[in-house]
Symmetry: C2
Subunit: 326 residues, 2 copies
Amino acid sequence: MQQNAIRHHSFGKPLEVLKLESIEQPQPQAGEVRVRLERATINPSDYGMIGGSYGSLRELPAVAGREGVGVVEALGAGVSGVEIGTRVRFPGEDGAWQASACVAAEDLLVVPAEVPVDQAAISFINPPTAYCLLKKIVDLQAGDWVVQNAGNSAVGLSVIQMAKAFGLKTISQVRREELVEPLKAMGADHVVLEGSGWPKSVADLTGGAPVRLALNSIGGESAIDQIKALGEGGTQVTFGGMVGDKVRFPTRFLIFNDVRLTGFWWDQFGKRHGVDAVRAIMAEVYAMMADGRLKLPIEQSYPFSEYKAAIQHDSQPRLGKILLHP
Amino acid sequence: MQQNAIRHHSFGKPLEVLKLESIEQPQPQAGEVRVRLERATINPSDYGMIGGSYGSLRELPAVAGREGVGVVEALGAGVSGVEIGTRVRFPGEDGAWQASACVAAEDLLVVPAEVPVDQAAISFINPPTAYCLLKKIVDLQAGDWVVQNAGNSAVGLSVIQMAKAFGLKTISQVRREELVEPLKAMGADHVVLEGSGWPKSVADLTGGAPVRLALNSIGGESAIDQIKALGEGGTQVTFGGMVGDKVRFPTRFLIFNDVRLTGFWWDQFGKRHGVDAVRAIMAEVYAMMADGRLKLPIEQSYPFSEYKAAIQHDSQPRLGKILLHP
């Protein structure tokens, strides 16, 4: 049996190196199940893996994509306790942009029935990243202030909604005026325009309370503005680097304001802490998705055959995620 | 009574704004003692305060200098238990480059008799900074590797000698080949030339052990090299910024290598933790100075009247500290 897969044989720009190919359908080995893809996600970090700059890379030729959701459709020898049709994370280790893939039954991440398929498709990377950023870096108390850039990204929107659920206050940096109202409608306390000099008046935004945590997925001046806005002893955690503008290394803030810079990578968290820790965090994410406290916008889902249009659409300004399906 | 003081009436370059002036000798108030300066130190951070870039600045006109040692020469009303002639830290809050200054008797930092006066003069900032960098940032174990830049600075030389005493291993970055042997003679495990690409072969230097802590007082490429050399989960602590070259913000190391960047400022440590914590650390420093495990080179001591020559000498390549005396 053959199946469709979006692959690349070299590292480079997605539209230049990706190809829709027919490959052998994988058969589940003992202890494995095969999962049929329902929806895969396009994430910014996919481009880092395709381009060869991401933290961990696949052997070439590689199926692209890191995130998707599907249903169990075949059981390997010795697998019990797993029902055909169970909705689970589509195994991203082998690449998510393919019609099916196999995974060890004991590693399955099951999606509760109350979670819609589109929300499930984008639940495995961005929302748990947002959860960990708010819960695992510094010990925040209700009422504490958090600043983030890329406020309109899927992590950014998750942070806004989760912070609301946790009683935290947010300042979200964005690049376009038209994002202000939609983000406020989702629960953002303040939305500020990047490059507007907002750190000078951060005390007005917070009523004089210190900003304790800054979430940086961009870099450049936007990250430096966060460091300026942080209170003494504040922490900036970087979990993405979408823009790598050259900026002055902010040593004086480290020394005199006791600011700390750290990083977070969900992939590594999962490897370090194991599948049970991941399941515990996903349970929190799904509780919020199930009762509507967390709902991320979806822009459109494209069939694999239109992956180029999907990637082009993904490069346009928008608020929702682009998905792929076989 | 009048006394000499090296003061500045505006912020700027030391040789342009400093003046040797005659000012009123201070009289100890109730609870205070007056200390007569024996030796004051010239530290790089003095230039930051004179120039107006340091973390905390004095009101103008200001006596320059942050560090010195002297003897108690007069007691204010109600002071008991302090003997005239006791060697103590010269109060740096009011500026150390003056013939005498007053301090609350309860804040006195007493120098043990076994410590030579020149070593005492440079004991209050650089050695406790080095001590805290090695003891208060990450929990190092004997055999752990530490990298530092400005290996020939007074902090750098303190780090080399203290690391030796604590069973830690050091890689010291320097800019001049002729510093390699003197630093090794003081106990440096490895001395590397900045810009030589040494991080590529860091595993050869450590025998494959990870570098757990990087000490940065320079910034620029020298700091980035340290970040590249750090092992996963390693910490870089910045405590000075002598060169502020523009460098790319090293976000990928934060994300993928779990490197953390933090800062240290001895002045702030003292304010936060109080005089007893400072005394406890100074006791450790003096124990090492008393038995010779810690000995910092002194280049020359100049009288106040030759302060310009002292500052010019301080700008030249050298290994020892320049001191001032009234």
